[in-house]
């Protein structure tokens, strides 16, 4: 599947680069008498990111552009022809930022954001262009921002809960803090990408296949790795370190096959719908709906079905459950399948929320999942749900006050504070923690 994948992604990019180079050559030819770039930065490097800032066919000068990434940072302004170029030391991923403050009045970046992530393809030059349009910026009131962030946070919290319930159930039934859950999350998103983009299946079918495969992965991990280790009597802490090794191996295995780039699932970046102050895309709405339905189904499973009750019994006290005739191994197998399938679904929704599928996307979320599980009380499924919603809301709402590159810090600080004052978590019981 790998060759198809690369071919499909590279051919359009090659074409774009060809086209841009042609355009650049033409422009250069036309303006050869004119000035060169007003302020060329990083000319000592071999690789260049460049672009052209225009609005309605008119070049915009003196617009500030900054490039950062990979430990390198540089900025420049566009020249009178609206062109800019920044040299960079390595062929890797960079973030290009257009300072909207420097645009003329009434002009904003309309499509996408003013920050574009770009990655070098086969050539040494990369072109980045922003889509400008008429508009007004930053007129959203604090209350509107708050409501908007609140719904984003709810969406994030719900998808976090899907992953957290799996972590919590696995912890409850086996005592394992599963660090490799991050890779189960990534797996769901990667499989959706493979089946929808590479095999061209409709997205709903691709997601269903990905969830089924995630469940199968959970089943085989339990059968091949965790069950033999439990039989061997390996203690909880070594099991946790094994899961760290597994997480590391799987994560780089994904990078081995899928590369370090970020790809988009079909339909990502759909236009937002407006509901008063709230702007949500149809995908956000679907994501929330799916999460709520699945979470209700899990709740029904845990509270009403025989096997769900058995799961809670094992979670409570494995030896007592075993003595009263519950097949503990079977329960754990089901927990692994359900937990992995939920993680896979969570990964798909996370890929739409971020947005993008990348090899380490699950690992980026893992700490927040652990924070959610600990907040709610280790080993309690409903605690994980409550914890996830709190973490999700907190992460998104904190961007109202904190810079957005620090939004995870807030959630992690809360985690430590909760452990200080209520170590058993919000829904946990005291005897669990000793």
């Amino acid at each position: 599947m790998q060759p198809t994948h690369t071919a499909q992604r590279y051919v359009p990019r090659m074409l774009v680069i060809l086209f841009v180079t042609l355009l650049a050559a033409l422009t250069m030819a036309t303006f050869s008498a004119g000035s060169a770039h007003a302020d060329e930065v990083g000319t000592e490097f071999d690789f260049t990111i460049s672009g052209n800032v225009q609005f309605d066919g008119e070049a915009l000068g003196d617009v500030a552009i900054a490039v950062s990434g990979n430990g390198y940072e540089a900025d420049t302004v566009t020249d009178a022809d609206g062109r800019w170029a920044i040299g960079v030391p390595e062929k890797s991923t960079y973030e290009v930022t257009l300072d909207e403050e420097t645009l003329p009045e009434g002009v904003v970046v309309t499509e996408g954001s003013n920050v574009i992530e770009t990655e070098f393809g086969l050539t040494d030059r990369r072109s980045v262009n922003f889509f400008l349009g008429e508009g007004v910026r930053n007129t959203v009131s604090f209350f509107d921002q708050f409501v908007n962030r609140f719904f984003n946070g709810l969406n994030f919290g719900l998808l976090l809960a899907l992953a957290a319930i799996g972590v919590s159930l696995i912890f409850g039934t086996t005592g394992l803090s599963n660090f490799a859950h991050a890779e189960l999350i990534t797996f769901g998103a990667l499989m959706t990408l493979v089946f929808s983009v590479n095999f061209g299946l409709p997205i709903w079918l691709a997601i269903l296949i990905a969830i089924a495969l995630s469940g199968a992965l959970g089943f085989s991990l339990d059968a091949v790795l965790w069950k033999p280790l439990r039989r061997k009597g390996v203690a909880v802490i070594p099991l946790m370190i094994v899961s760290i090794g597994l997480s590391l191996a799987l994560r780089y295995l994904y990078q081995y096959f899928f590369g370090g780039s970020t790809s988009q699932l079909p339909g990502a970046g759909m236009a937002d719908l407006k509901f008063g102050p709230i702007s949500l895309s149809p995908i956000d709405l679907a994501s929330m709906g799916i999460s709520i339905v699945v979470l209700l189904a899990v709740a029904y499973f845990l509270l009403r079905t025989r096997i769900g009750k058995a799961t809670r019994a094992v979670s409570d006290n494995p030896s007592l459950a075993s003595a009263s005739g519950i097949d503990v191994d079977n329960v754990i197998r089901i927990v692994w399948v359900v937990g992995a399938a939920l993680a896979g679904l969570s990964g798909v929704l996370w890929a739409y929320f971020r947005p993008g599928v990348s090899w380490d996307m699950g690992f980026q979320m893992l700490l927040l999942v652990f924070a959610a599980v600990t907040l709610g009380g280790l080993g309690t499924a409903f605690g994980a749900l409550v914890g996830s919603l709190i973490v999700g809301l907190f992460v998104e709402l904190s961007t109202l006050w904190l810079p957005s590159d620090m939004k995870i810090v807030g959630a992690l600080v809360i985690l430590i504070l909760v452990l200080l004052f209520r170590p058993q978590g919000i829904l946990g019981r005291k005897e669990r923690i000793g």
Partner: protein, 326 residues
């Protein structure tokens, strides 16, 4: 296939400052995990505090080397207190989650643009080496032989780094034979029994957390001296690599972390040299050079799993002194 270059590059790692830094960090982790049974997953955070504490003290405040050293150590003591106070009374895995979270907080605080003036944000800091180089008593020229030949600064750095590692190893060896060390090992084996003997388990755990953390901090400074301080070096993966080294050598040993670090880096360097040349030579047509680099990390992950499952005491460990707490 240039075998000479592959072996030469691998041999360089045997005494490189990076190997020394990982050995010292792993020694700190041996105090935490191997001897006391504390699951510290935030060693990368301690290392980051050491590196940034040193670099910021010199660049922003113009401290001398010893002052910068003390700032780094002081920062890590405070960090250990913050980590320890809420979690050392709780079950072991809480400490794991809190330390991993705290290390990420530290890294994100050094990464954010908000403090870019002091921390250099994602670009990190550099240009703090002159103060250390000025203490160099060696005359200009090159020292050593073969793959171990270095200029005066690099030789000086290696001498200092490995002296610190050896001193720390001797100190850990002695202190673990002392009454204090026996209590520490007792806490690992059975916390309640030690408490029944009237020992303040909480205080002992805190002392162990601070001591191992300070070793990690000094390791962070050694790690920073041959390169720039960049926040992305201090990700959770760094802690996992140190765990791999510790488990390889043996968690409750003094020599284990040091030899483990040498084996780890020599093998890693040998392997990446071999793979990249094998790819160039066309021996591995299904693989690119970049994929070869990732293969290393896949193998590190597999190695962690296999060691824990099949030889939990590591190379130097004693099966009787089990490396793992229950």
């Amino acid at each position: 296939m240039d075998w000479g270059a592959i072996f030469g590059n691998a041999a360089v790692e045997l005494i490189s400052p990076t190997t020394a830094a990982y050995a010292l960090a792993a020694l700190g982790l041996a105090v935490h995990f191997g001897y006391t049974g504390l699951l510290n997953f935030g060693q990368a955070g301690f290392m980051a505090l050491g590196a940034y504490g040193y670099a910021i003290s010199i660049l922003t405040f113009g401290f001398p080397v010893w002052g910068a050293f003390l700032v780094g150590v002081g920062a890590s003591v405070i960090f250990a207190l913050i980590l320890g106070i809420p979690t050392l009374r709780l079950r072991a895995d809480y400490l794991a989650i809190v330390t991993i979270a705290a290390a990420e907080i530290v890294r994100l605080l050094f990464t954010t643009n908000t403090f870019a003036a002091v921390t250099g944000s994602a670009n990190g800091l550099s240009g703090y080496k002159n103060e250390f180089a000025a203490l160099n008593p060696l005359a200009e020229g090159s020292y050593g032989f073969g793959p171990f030949e270095n200029n005066a600064y690099d030789t000086w750095l290696r001498i200092v780094a490995w002296s610190i590692v050896i001193l720390a190893a001797l100190f850990v060896w002695q202190i673990m034979r002392s009454p204090w060390g026996r209590v520490i090992k007792g806490i690992r084996e059975d916390e309640d029994a030690v408490r029944a003997l009237g020992k303040n388990v909480y205080a002992y755990k805190m002392q162990s957390l601070i001591f191992g953390g300070v070793l990690g901090t000094i390791a962070g400074m050694i790690f920073a001296l041959p390169r720039a301080v960049v926040p992305s070096n201090y990700q959770t993966t760094l802690t996992f690599f140190i765990y791999a080294i510790l488990l390889l050598g043996g968690a409750a040993t003094v020599l284990g972390p040091i030899i483990g670090s040498m084996i780890f880096w020599v093998l890693l360097s040998f392997f990446s040299g071999f793979i990249s040349r094998a790819v160039e030579a066309g021996w591995l047509p299904f693989m690119t050079a970049i994929q070869g680099g990732q293969l290393r990390f896949i193998l590190v992950g597999l190695a962690i799993m296999l060691i824990v499952i099949f030889r939990p005491q590591g190379i130097f460990g004693n099966k009787k002194e089990l490396a793992f707490v229950r």
